[in-house]
Homo-oligomer: 230 residues x 2
C-alpha cells in the first residue's frame, strides 16, 4: 500500500474480488490493511469488460499487489438474460425508484464470482474472501443481500475441504453509497482508477443505473467524482 | 427418449448436468422421463475433457435432446490444485479405502457447475436441476454430500429472482454404485456411451479411482461394463 508504515507482521491471506468499480475498490482498500491480499477479477462478457479489467489492473498496481488473477467466464454471455451480457437487450436509463429486479441482473452472477474466489482461496490457503456487495443502496439484485452471503458461508462450510476455515467478508453490505465514498476518501482509495458505467468504455455515460448510484453517492458525500462523464 | 410411448402432456423444464459419466447418464435417464430436459455440460480443463464432451453429445443424441449447452470454464485449470486440472500432479492409482479428500478433488468444482445450471435455469424458466452426485459410494468429495445440496438449495432460494422456484434434484445421492448400475439397466440408460476414466481418452485405464468405483459397481450388480478397458 502506498504510504503504509505499519510494523511488519505475519498477515493472513485473503482473496479480494475486484471488479474495478468503486465498491470493490473500497473493499480492497479495507482488505489490504488487514491481509496479504490476492486480487481476483472475472470478465464475463459484460459490455465494458475491457475497461473494467484495466481498472482492476490499475487498482492492483496502486496497492502493489503481485498475486493477482484475471480470468474469463464465457458461459454467462452464452446463457444471456441480462442487458449486460446480451447485446440484444438495451441498457435502460437509470430509474433508482424502480421496484423489483432490473434487467441488468445477470442470473446468479455473484455465485460464479464467489465460486472462483473460493476455489482460488482453497489452493492459496486463504482464510477470507472480500466482496464489495451493497444491499440497501444498490440495484436490487438478489445476490447482493446479506441473507445470500450467510447462505454462501454455509455452502463454503460444507462444500470445501475440512479445515478450510474460509469466510466471505462483506464490509460494505450495510452502507449507503455516500458512506462508501466517505470511507473510501478516508482510506485514500483510488477512485480515479475505478470504472462503474454499464454502457461505455470511454467516458462514463452518467445515465445508467450504475452511474446514477455512483453520482448520487459522491453528491451525498459532498465530494467530486474524479472520473470523467460524457 | 428412444421407445417412449407415454401420452403427450405438458412437462416442466429441467436443466440436467451431464458430465458424460455413468452417474450423470442415469440421472439424465430419470430426468428425461419427468421433464422437458435441457442438457448442460461443462469442460473445465480436466485431462479427459474431449472424451467427456463426446460422451455428453452421444447421450444427448440418444435422448434426442435438442436443447443442450456445452460451455468452457478455464478458470479451474488456471487455479489448479487437483490432479485432474494440473498436469504437474499425477493421477494416483485407485485406493478406495483412502481416508480424507483425494488429490482428484477440484476445489469447489460442483459450485461452478451448479452456478452454470442455475443461471441457465433462470433464463429458461426451469424448475429443477438434476445432478448425478453420489454421497456414500464416492471418492470422498465434500461437494458430493447431501448437506452440500441442502445448503445450495438455500442459496438458490435467496440468490435468484423472487418466484424462480428452482430446486436441485440429486436422485442418486443415497445409492451405491451397484444400485446405480441396476437402476440404469432398468431404465435402459446407454452406459456404452459414457466415460468415467480420469486418465485416458482412448481405453479406460481401469486403475484410477473413477474406473475402480465403476468396475466395482458393475461387478456388484452382476453386470458387464460395456466400455473397453486397457
Amino acid at each position: 500500500m502506498r504510504g503504509g508504515s505499519e510494523a511488519p507482521r505475519v498477515r493472513s491471506r485473503a482473496v479480494v474480488l475486484v471488479s474495478g468499480g468503486m465498491d470493490s475498490c473500497v473493499s480492497a482498500a479495507i482488505a489490504v490493511r488487514q491481509h496479504e491480499a490476492a486480487l481476483l477479477h472475472v470478465s464475463y462478457g459484460q459490455r465494458t469488460e475491457g475497461r473494467e479489467r484495466a481498472a482492476f489492473e490499475a487498482i492492483a498496481d496502486h496497492y502493489a499487489v503481485e498475486r493477482r488473477l484475471a480470468v474469463r467466464l464465457d458461459l454467462l454471455s452464452a446463457i444471456g438474460g441480462s442487458c449486460l451480457t446480451d447485446r440484444a437487450i438495451e441498457v435502460p436509463p437509470a430509474d433508482l425508484s424502480r421496484e423489483g429486479v432490473p434487467v441488468s441482473y445477470v442470473p446468479f452472477r455473484n455465485t460464479h464470482l464467489l465460486a472462483a474466489a473460493v476455489s482460488w482461496a482453497e489452493v492459496l490457503g486463504a482464510g477470507a474472501i472480500y466482496i464489495g456487495a451493497v444491499e440497501e443502496d444498490s440495484s436490487g439484485y438478489p445476490d447482493c443481500r446479506r441473507v445470500y452471503y450467510d447462505a454462501f458461508n454455509r455452502l463454503i462450510e460444507v462444500g470445501t475441504k475440512p479445515g478450510a476455515r474460509l469466510r466471505i467478508e462483506t464490509p460494505l453490505i450495510d452502507l449507503g453509497k455516500a458512506e462508501i465514498v466517505r470511507l473510501g476518501l478516508d482510506l485514500a482509495a483510488p477512485f480515479d482508477l475505478t470504472w462503474s458505467c454499464y454502457r461505455s468504455e470511454e467516458r462514463a455515460c452518467g445515465a445508467c443505473d450504475s452511474c446514477a448510484l455512483r453520482l448520487r453517492g459522491f453528491a451525498g458525500a459532498g465530494a467530486t467524482d474524479p472520473i470523467r462523464y460524457a
